[in-house]
Point group: none
Chain length 221, copies 4
Amino acid sequence: MASKNGSIREIKKLEKKQRIHEAAIRVMARNGYHGTTVSQIAKAARVADGTLYLYFENKDDLLVGIFDEIMDRFISEGLSVIDEMADPIEKLKRIVELHLKALGSDEDLACIFQIELRHNIHHMKRFSQSKLRQYFNIVERVIRDAQEQGHIRSEVNPWITAKLLFGAVDEMATNWVLRTRDYNLIDMAKPTLDIFLNGLCTNHEEPQSEASIEEGRQTLP
Amino acid sequence: MASKNGSIREIKKLEKKQRIHEAAIRVMARNGYHGTTVSQIAKAARVADGTLYLYFENKDDLLVGIFDEIMDRFISEGLSVIDEMADPIEKLKRIVELHLKALGSDEDLACIFQIELRHNIHHMKRFSQSKLRQYFNIVERVIRDAQEQGHIRSEVNPWITAKLLFGAVDEMATNWVLRTRDYNLIDMAKPTLDIFLNGLCTNHEEPQSEASIEEGRQTLP
Amino acid sequence: MASKNGSIREIKKLEKKQRIHEAAIRVMARNGYHGTTVSQIAKAARVADGTLYLYFENKDDLLVGIFDEIMDRFISEGLSVIDEMADPIEKLKRIVELHLKALGSDEDLACIFQIELRHNIHHMKRFSQSKLRQYFNIVERVIRDAQEQGHIRSEVNPWITAKLLFGAVDEMATNWVLRTRDYNLIDMAKPTLDIFLNGLCTNHEEPQSEASIEEGRQTLP
Amino acid sequence: MASKNGSIREIKKLEKKQRIHEAAIRVMARNGYHGTTVSQIAKAARVADGTLYLYFENKDDLLVGIFDEIMDRFISEGLSVIDEMADPIEKLKRIVELHLKALGSDEDLACIFQIELRHNIHHMKRFSQSKLRQYFNIVERVIRDAQEQGHIRSEVNPWITAKLLFGAVDEMATNWVLRTRDYNLIDMAKPTLDIFLNGLCTNHEEPQSEASIEEGRQTLP
DNA sequence: CATGAATGAGCATTCATTCAT
DNA sequence: TATGAATGAATGCTCATTCAT
């Protein structure tokens, strides 16, 4: 019985933690991290103020907890999808789509991710050095594969490219959160991928050597 | 004499405002917006606390004021440089370089721009709807010109491209601010431009139609 | 047990609110509203600064709260005493006595009432339009009764008389608070009532018509 | 020339002091003493902030200065009017009328007098011990005269009566400042005087001895 | 005399966190 | 576990006053 109770308790504990998470996302998305009090979150989660501290070290930890949980879920889901694919270009496409779909389907979450999680250099560093690095690693791996298979130019730096791609997609997401007119975030996947894969320029018969870019001038026939 | 005094006062006033700006950038870059007290800024600027309020509405306005001033300077400098150039591709290159150089040459400023100015959805919206829009407009204009001159593919959406480019460059800047090992931000200009101009893919003799991307698969001969 | 705890908590809460009230009266009577800090009141009430805000909206509400509580108690006590009496003249006398006794027996309270509560036109208006109106209503009622019973001249306006009586008694109280030599406030009841009931003039066989007062001259035989 | 300039300067100085006084009355009547900043007064008087301090010790002194000036004018005007009269009852009447007319004809001034000047126990004490004492002295003198001439009952205490009369008139003024419906303050003179002179009671053939009041019961035939 | 920029002490209020129940 | 009353440190901002010009 004890173990049965124990497992029920475990479940209830997880449920409550989840409830607090969701309450925090909901409230913080509207009021921002600094505009949200612990009491507001507690009320939204229907627990007492003090109860929050049984599940989180402090207010900041709550934000970090949300972030890590979501990010872990996002990355593992992403990985499981990616792993089933063969073509690295296709994988790249899926990553962008998953990224945009995950945020585009939950505005509150997107708001937390794009805005609230970044108001603090320590969060940013933590983010940058853990989960974001995982993201970059995945993309880097895919790009390397694509390079080995000859689909992506061998000159491009996979790590820098991962950052550039993330940055571009991230900006799409932020812009969507701050949008004045409504549209679907996922629709940004296609043009994003088009530019990253095919580039802006019209003529690639004589692909630009880095040197020629270096010269500050492109030879155009 | 009165006018002379007047102009001297004007200069002193600007000097003091400037001093406060610089002090704020310096202090906030280290401690973050919320980690910085008004008193700290005042002390760093060698003025009394109350003096800040002769030049700024409130603490938040101080941050916004810094942002607007820097951004205006950046944009007008950028425009004057751009205007002297003929080739739109070259212009695009210069924009990216100027962006990275401006931030890469002043780490504190970069920190403020990449992190502190974004801790608040209201700042973000304000930013997004004023200065950032100007930035996008400039890039959009350049891309359109390039399209008219046949240098950039007519299929790409100039506005979305402006966002993507900004996002990629912005991520470069943020990564540099959060870097663990030292490097020059400006060095990111070349690979960024290479990917945006030439794309990732190896073969562009038969450029991807959007439809084929849509299919989730690139036809590679 | 829960209800028992509940009631104990209720009592403790009331006790604490009372303690804060009394501390505020004590401290403000000595230093005035603007000369008193919230911290001083909290310290005097042996609670933390923040605790005050669990019981009061803000510093101003604290003053208003004191006022309303005291005034309600005063009015209801007064009414219960009045109701037991039959003779309206006697009631009038009791009202004056109760008024002077209430203030004369608690100098700090009198100070708050006569001085601190009046430093603000909004307080004055609020006072004037709620509790003071109740006071006036009671006196007016008594005067009307006395008029119906033929004890008070039918020419006098009960509402104006209520104000005049309050003003006279109020001035007695204020003078007592500001006194340089000590005396009992309650001793002012008798002369006050004497003048209001009997008037100043010696001869009333031919009571002054309002018209003759109008003429600016009293006909004295 | 020096003396000529001197006198012109004297006049200008008085003019400026007057301008500041009037500005202060105007602004404080609307915003209250604590709701008014020195800068606001300076702006309303069209002088620099610092200039105020050439004419007044400090903000508080400004209020006191207004009060003393007005009060002196009021008392000396009152005295000159009173002195020309013979009948003490008539004098009493005139005092009440002058009091109500002075305030009733200048709402801002009335507001300052009835509300703002009283938000501080030190002002009150100062007021009570100087100008108000003069007022009481005048009334007391008049009452004594009336008593000597047999117009006012010898039993009444002139000093207490002066306070009561002031209190009643003062309450009329305060009520008028706080009024919700408009009326003329001067109209309160007649009923006020009627009650003070003739009392409330109908029957005065056997004027109440203090003792009978003491008994707590009035003998009514 | 006049100015008004500069000063900096002072204070109400908030809110993350604790802990007795 | 859960509660929520109590805590008290922390801070943005105001504004009366000064003084160099």
